[in-house]
Symmetry: D2
Subunit: 481 residues, 4 copies
């Protein structure tokens, strides 16, 4: 298992075309906007070496028996699925942002059973290819980004109907040694911090669109890949050099638009090739694992939000007010409700045919669906408790200013024994979570990550046995079948 330092060092040699603000980044890992995001991923390495978290963050590999970082592990029991959620909660607590390593983990667990079932249904060897790849990932303790969402263009049209065939990733050429693909994946969280990119289809695929039914993995520095980092709320504050105004100087996240222009993928890295019937299965399983994840990580962010609310109430001198206490209890209630969903979809997990455990699909969708609601209400309450100063606070430069500093110190003092600077630091952390960079992770990602709300509703509708429930009602109402 790599240490955090070894992890960062292992990324440095990669030669990649990464752009931010219209400039190609020569040393992306040192860029003030990227570095906090790398720190967040590095925390997944740090915990594995931290005696307090070793069992949570590392585990003997089911493939090799060697101790590996849990983020590269195939879940071997329902309890291990629960452990995943607990690990994610801790990481959310420690970073207050997305730590980016789950999507690849979830992709690997999904591919494990799907490639097996693909092979079962036909004469292919995808599962072996995938397992070889996974062994390589485990041995080298790599970060994989899981790339699902195509850019899609006009969403009312299917891949082959659309104006531009490249709006969905597809095969443009098939060669003896592999395939050539074109397309682009958006919202690629942590792409800069990843060694490998695992591509999956974005949705179920019909026969006419078979060329779009592909899954594979390539290193992130493969020729033909261009990455454009998206800009985030308040990102520019990290360029200012201060330590208060960014709110969370240590940790952040990033997303990239990843463009594949005729990228070659060797056969040993191809895990699905035109098997359109299995595209939906891969999407559903990946989505299920990834929807489970939100019942862990976002709960960790919720813990920070609750801690911040409790602390700012204290700094403002209102922590004894009954309405404040009640609102904080409500935040806890919502956060633990979400956690309950994360735990339940895990503890109700079942083994797939490979022995890798899959979460309960309905409950995982329920978990994610609540994630599209509860964090918003938690943040609303946090904004309520924080008070108006959250959005009217003078800048760090004002506070550091010779004349203004003492005025701010005097007038923005809250509780007598708390330095004004602490109050400012805390308010900036809250701003970061409600409006700034972490709000992207806690709000927009809670909404759209692992599928937008409607995707969960569709899956719930598809999976629930309504006929069985109707029978219950008929029996009680004494209506004959």
């Amino acid at each position: 298992m790599k240490t955090p330092e070894e992890y960062v060092d292992s990324l440095r040699p990669l030669k990649r075309d990464i752009y931010l603000f219209g400039e190609k980044l020569e040393d992306p890992l040192d860029h003030p906007i990227i570095k906090p995001s790398t720190n967040a991923v590095a925390m997944t390495y740090a915990l594995a070496h931290d005696p307090a978290y070793r069992d949570l963050a590392s585990v003997p590999s089911s493939l090799s028996g060697d101790r590996i970082n849990r983020f590269t592990h195939l879940h071997q029991s329902a309890q291990e699925l629960v452990t995943k959620v607990k690990l994610q909660r801790v990481l959310g607590q420690k970073t207050a942002v997305c730590f980016q390593r789950c999507v690849g983990w979830d992709a690997m667990n999904a591919l494990d059973s799907v490639t097996h079932e693909l092979d079962e249904a036909q004469d292919t060897d995808y599962h072996k290819r995938f397992r070889d790849f996974l062994r390589y990932v485990q041995e080298n303790d790599l970060v994989c980004v899981g790339a699902m969402t195509d850019v899609k263009g006009d969403r009312s049209l299917s891949p082959s109907q659309g104006e531009d065939p490249d709006h969905y990733m597809h095969i443009v050429d098939e060669r003896k040694d592999g395939i050539v693909v074109r397309g682009a994946k958006v919202h690629q969280t942590g792409i800069v911090n990843s060694h490998e990119i695992i591509v999956m289809p974005t949705a179920s695929i019909r026969e006419a669109d078979a060329d779009y039914a592909i899954s594979f993995a390539v290193p992130t520095d493969t020729e033909g890949i261009t990455v454009i980092i998206g800009r985030q709320s308040c990102d520019a504050r990290l360029l200012e050099g201060g330590e208060i105004d960014p709110g969370n100087t240590q940790f952040g996240g990033h997303e990239g638009l990843v463009i594949f222009e005729d990228v070659f993928v060797p056969w040993e890295r191809v895990f699905m090739c035109r098997e359109y019937r299995f595209a939906g299965m891969l999407v559903e399983r990946f989505a299920a694992y990834h929807r489970q994840s939100y019942g862990g990580c976002k709960v960790g962010l919720g813990d920070v939000a609750i801690g911040a609310a409790s602390l700012i109430a204290e700094y403002n001198g209102v922590d004894k007010a009954s309405h404040i206490r009640d609102k904080i209890v409500e935040m806890v209630h919502l956060n633990e409700s979400l956690y309950s969903c994360g735990v339940a979809c895990s503890s109700e997990g079942q083994a797939t045919k490979t022995g890798t455990y899959l979460v309960d699909v309905i409950l995982a969708n329920v978990t994610k669906h609540n994630t599209t609601r509860f964090p918003y209400e938690i943040l609303r309450l946090l904004e309520d408790i924080a008070g108006g100063l959250l959005v009217t606070l003078p800048s760090e430069k004002d506070y550091r200013h010779e004349e203004l500093g003492p005025k701010i110190e005097k007038y923005l003092k809250g509780k007598a024994d708390v330095p004004t600077e602490y109050r400012m630091r805390l308010l900036r952390l809250i701003e970061n979570m409600t409006f700034g960079r972490a709000a992207i992770g806690y709000r927009a990602e809670s909404m759209h990550g692992a599928g937008s709300p409607q995707a969960q509703r569709i899956m719930i509708a598809r999976r629930v046995d309504f006929e069985e429930k109707k029978r219950l009602a008929k029996t009680l109402a004494r209506i004959p079948e």
Copy 2:
């Protein structure tokens, strides 16, 4: 293990003072209003003998090794706590009402660890007494009602401050062979269907109120006990003799006001006697187990509600409408969210010192707190989908009327191939769940059973480690400790 018939027969010999509508019931089990409630309890016996549910509903006793009804069992693992919830969900699905046997079960599991810890703290033998009682219950497969809620009088006053000392159950005399108690317990669900009554204090107790810190068990036909059955919405329909209008003719519930006028309790049946310091612990543990229960039983009722909604939509010809489908998905989402809480507080359970498992207390409170919200919204959606006919439907007598019957058949016909009578039966079932007898179980009991909403908020506030959460925020905001 008793069969349902043996169970009912075992209750018949009991000579009890049970009143309903101002009359003493000579054969309460045959009363049209009581009988459906007995049927509901009997279902807990039936499942234990049903091959399809045997493992769910019965289990080898941890005390004797004999196969016993699970409703008398001490939970021996977190998985068994989950099994409890699953059993409750099935029973809720099959009865659509409260099946009344959980409260005693939860009381027994709570007493097991609390009596042990009481003995540990002082030189008493409560645990042995309790275990002897429990063996008796297991061997005879008895139903116990768990009696916690005192009548309380003016709730702003403590037991000894109040106008009437008997507003809380207390010791009025101590004899060589036992104690004499006076007081009354309200909301005693299933009292008529119970062999034994297990009394517990209603809240934490201060030293000045030590006489109120008592727990014990007595048969329900003990001298000095008077039971007055409360009246329920639409109860009188059961006296009319029809089979449609009651909505659910097979199953129901009931509650009683149970008055103890100088009832004698022998020492071997006393499990706590003036140990006021442990009253709070008993209340909290019982409440935790009982709050978990709602994550099972009410989910079963939710399944019926969802089934009824799906079916009435079909009968009305609106099952394809997108807004109807969306509302049904929302019902499922809420119901499974509640179930997730029930599962999670169970799978996160921990062993107490006796080996009996206790649920995760915070998550169990979260479970119950959601129960005070989600069923209300599920029912609101059910009322929406059912349509106005839910509350304007002619009576069964009109439908059976020679001239009116054909008119109703013609004009209240929905979908062509569904007899109007089916539609009426289904609407009456829905009415039963939204306004009638089952609404008491699904709505008011979801609100107040196992403690009103504020009780959960207080417990959540007490159990959460806010200091730890504040530290998370401080670390991220770089505020020194």
Copy 3:
């Protein structure tokens, strides 16, 4: 203007076929279940003669100049629309049920402008006919029921597509002197208490269904009309003769299924005949007026709910608890939010071509849509505050029982100076509003009256100028048109 007594006397001579519980009612106005509903309508007459409410409840007729009951008046200004809402709030406060006279009032105001616009578009004299009818209603101070909702059958089919052509009211014969109609209207609130029935189509109508595009008025004792009264939650309690258990012995409501079997309507009473293009306009205008109404009457019921919550909190000794006070404030907030909608859609009303004022249609739909939500939450809070005794209270007969009475008096005593009987009366009133007869008015009617929730969403979607709103966004984002 009639007095309440004159009103009741004027109904007595009507010879009608009214059935309840399979029996034809000879004196329906004296039936214990119907009488409270007649009382509620009578209150609309009483207020007109009560000096404290005279200006609210009566007004000079815009047709004759004579002082008339406002419930027969055409609104002559936006302020009069506001007055309507205030009158409804007062009546809701005084009865806690539906007082049944709005639907006819709303039908008359809608017909006034629609018949005028019909005549404008073609060579007909509907408006004159309608105005003649209205003068008759005003002069005789009549109650009209407004009959819109057809039984519909399978709702996925249009009137003429359905299995049975009579599932929607339609013309079966046209004669020199009038038309003959067949069909049935459900949910006819207050039909027994009404002199006249005003029939309208249930929805927009296509050319193929022109025979269904009819509106007319006939006396409720017209030959061929059969009424079957629907049964309501807890209706049977009114047959028991007590004064506590019914909760609200004075006031109630009722709905009827009204079947028209080849009923003849003379031309002078026909207000629309096959003009299918105007059916939608009539439905929309009537719906708009009637959706406004809910912003008045249900607010009055909310006031009673709030008063009951405040009083039971006091009786229970918890009125000082901060969480109780907070919940009551929330009830007020929701109730006044609803009232605001009622006021706003009125004060923003505009004159139609006849000078009769029409409410703002979008805001009226918003009003009703909130009515499908807020009362449910108000009741949930009321159930929370009321405590569990709400559903476990012994019956009146137990309380009147010689031996049980004193026990109940002692043990169910709350606050020291409040007789137990008061607490029981109040709890039964609350039960009436949450589970019983008034719950039908406050919950199910709030949901489905004047159209189910989706009907409002469709109307809102249809009326909002989305293009204008898109332009706002484009201008700000500097996107050229």
Copy 4:
């Protein structure tokens, strides 16, 4: 009435100590961060000269008869209160931010009646002083900031109990010609764009704190005043010079911390001086007017949010999806509910003793309380509809980049006929409203402006006649008084 240009010119000569990012602004009106906020205020001048809005935005003065900008007018009728809300809605639609001029307007209307009632109660001439000031404001068409919120320090302590007496604005010296004050007001919206600052107390004041019971007006360039502009989410983007990334380049808002260090106020500008008994009245009336305002301005922002949602759905090709349409209808419903409250508290307004109309206080508080909820849900839905690209979109510089530009054009294309740049512009506008600068106005200001949520609950609880409501319940339950 000034034109927008004259308005801006009239501010330029003011010599003020205004700081931003630690620098004193020499020409604050030209600063890229301030200028959009000045534009927003200027829109209040522009509408008054725009024939389409003239009657909305200007009005004959009740003092002079001259046509004046409505933002300096005393409301002379309930209808004029409604007009205020309509004007605010239009301005919100046109700017999508806070246009800053309401707070001073609301302060002036509140002072008008309070100073009159002050004079009535004692021998003072505050009302005349105030009216003289108001005439000056009307004649010169000035912008006044209304300064209420003190910095407060530890909020659990009263002004004179606190660690620092200057945490609340107070009199430090009284001279023959006036008073000298010290303190600081936070969250001063639009301070840079204001000619005058009207100071009011922050809360009710007890006798011991009489020195804190002051109200007065001074020019914003008065000696001793220092302004520190707070920093806002994404403010730095305005320094980058682009036209896409700021989202809304034309309009913005700002808040300042305004410090008064021994500022002299001449008697003719003092409107309350130690009359602590009237401090609460001034606070309540100002709050009522200002809470009404939110039922106008934020509705305008909601219109933009709805327009943006409709447009992005179209650009993404999902505008026909039923769940998208349903969510947009929900946004409209919430927005119009809020508007209804704004209209209702206005149309129910009553004349004060000076003839100036005051809103209905309960309904105004209800309006604001809904503002602390509905915009949050509207934005949650907007984030849902916008899709993940909202937070992962590449920067404008990437789009303008020679090589990257065409890639972005190709891959981020949505609907075929919509240029990618339009989609980017729109997404940035949405980002601005959900995370960026306008989110401060739409979210945090909706929460805390005119008082945080609890302030409204306290006011509602204080104003509602609970005894009357209890009487309603008693009458219906037949409980004697």
